[in-house]
């Protein structure tokens, strides 16, 4: 998934019009909560079906970049 599309997806989940970057801190947005976490998993499961996003990894993400790294090829697992 391209970086630009990924950032737009995160903005969509956070329901914000702000221009996000990879360095944007997630904690700036009160919408970054358990609901947006499951929206994130839902969207990524369709785009990156073989990536496993564990609750611990998701909780430790501080920035948009951290989220982007969660769906990196290195996290791909076989079925």
């Amino acid at each position: 998934m391209e970086e630009k599309e990924f950032i737009e997806t995160v903005a969509y989940i956070l329901k914000t019009q702000d221009q996000l970057t990879l360095d944007t801190e997630l904690s700036k947005y009160k919408e970054w909560d358990s609901l947006s976490a499951i929206s994130f998993i839902s969207l990524m499961s369709v785009r990156r079906p073989n990536v496993i996003i564990t609750p611990d990894l998701l909780k430790s993400a501080k920035t948009v970049r951290d989220l982007y790294e969660l769906i990196d090829d290195k996290n791909v697992v076989a079925d």
Binding site: A37, P49, L58
Partner: protein
Amino acid sequence: MLLQIENIGLDAITAVVSSKQVTLEDRLNGLVDADKLDRTKEIAGFDRFSVADAGVCASDFCAAAAEKIFDETSLDRNDIRALIFVSQTPDYIMPATAQTLQARLGLPRDIAAFDIGLGCSGFVNGLYVASSMLNAMHDGKILLLCGDTNTRNMFGDDISCQSVFGDGGAAAIVSKRDGQKIYFNLQTFGELADAIIRPRGGFRNPLIVENNALDVKENFVTMDGVTVMNFSVRYVPTNISALMNFAGVEPSSVELFLMHQANRLIVETIAARLALPKEKFPFRAGSIGNTSSASIPLILSEMRRLNEPTKLLTVMSGFGVGMSIASAFVDLRDTIILSTGEL
């Protein structure tokens, strides 16, 4: 485990919910702001819930559903040779609720009756057990009852539970049917048992009793929403694909995909993962809630109530607590579906 059971069909299915309803707004009042309330409604998809009145148990909804079938169809209770009650909220620690249901429903003594302790995967697992038993029986039918009073499992300020759970019960009659097969794909993921668990009150951990055990949050269900979401969107589509492949059925010829109504987003994501139109994946629990094992029959009874077609070729999939997944390819073209009843 992929398997097929021959000469089996469903005669009738219906479900019953509570006449008492509570809104999401009332439940989350004081727990979330207006913005989060709207987002919860949008993502989980529930705006009202069926809530059992004090003293009403899952078995009461199930008994009402069974009586509805005996009242409104020509199916005869004297033909029942086994009763299976699937629930995680039985009436008693012992005896099994199935025995009390046999007496309450006036079923013959010459039957087997037992409980199965399953939740969201319970209807399809129950159908598998009933189908297997019928193979060994000379005659007769099986009454499959399933349901839960989930609202009794959740603590007052637990937002994730309060956003989804409702109460209800369902009944189905399973019988021998020449030439008809049901295909199953059953899976168990016990390593994820902690994702949805009510750890106290059984024999492993006692209830914590201070002034009143009902005031202690640790005595109730905990649900890890992120793990449940991950599990559902990752493993359920794979399970369903394997089932359709095993049954030799093209996804395009399945007319209806009856997914456990965990929440709206999970149902829609499973459709998206399978690259199938979401219109074939009805979500009809928005004013009922997630009723665990009753949720698949409830989709059908709600569709019947709304005059939507139900006599179709279906794939059913129950998934969740356990964790477990049970899917089946079932022909409902000759099954009576009765619209949802109220208790």
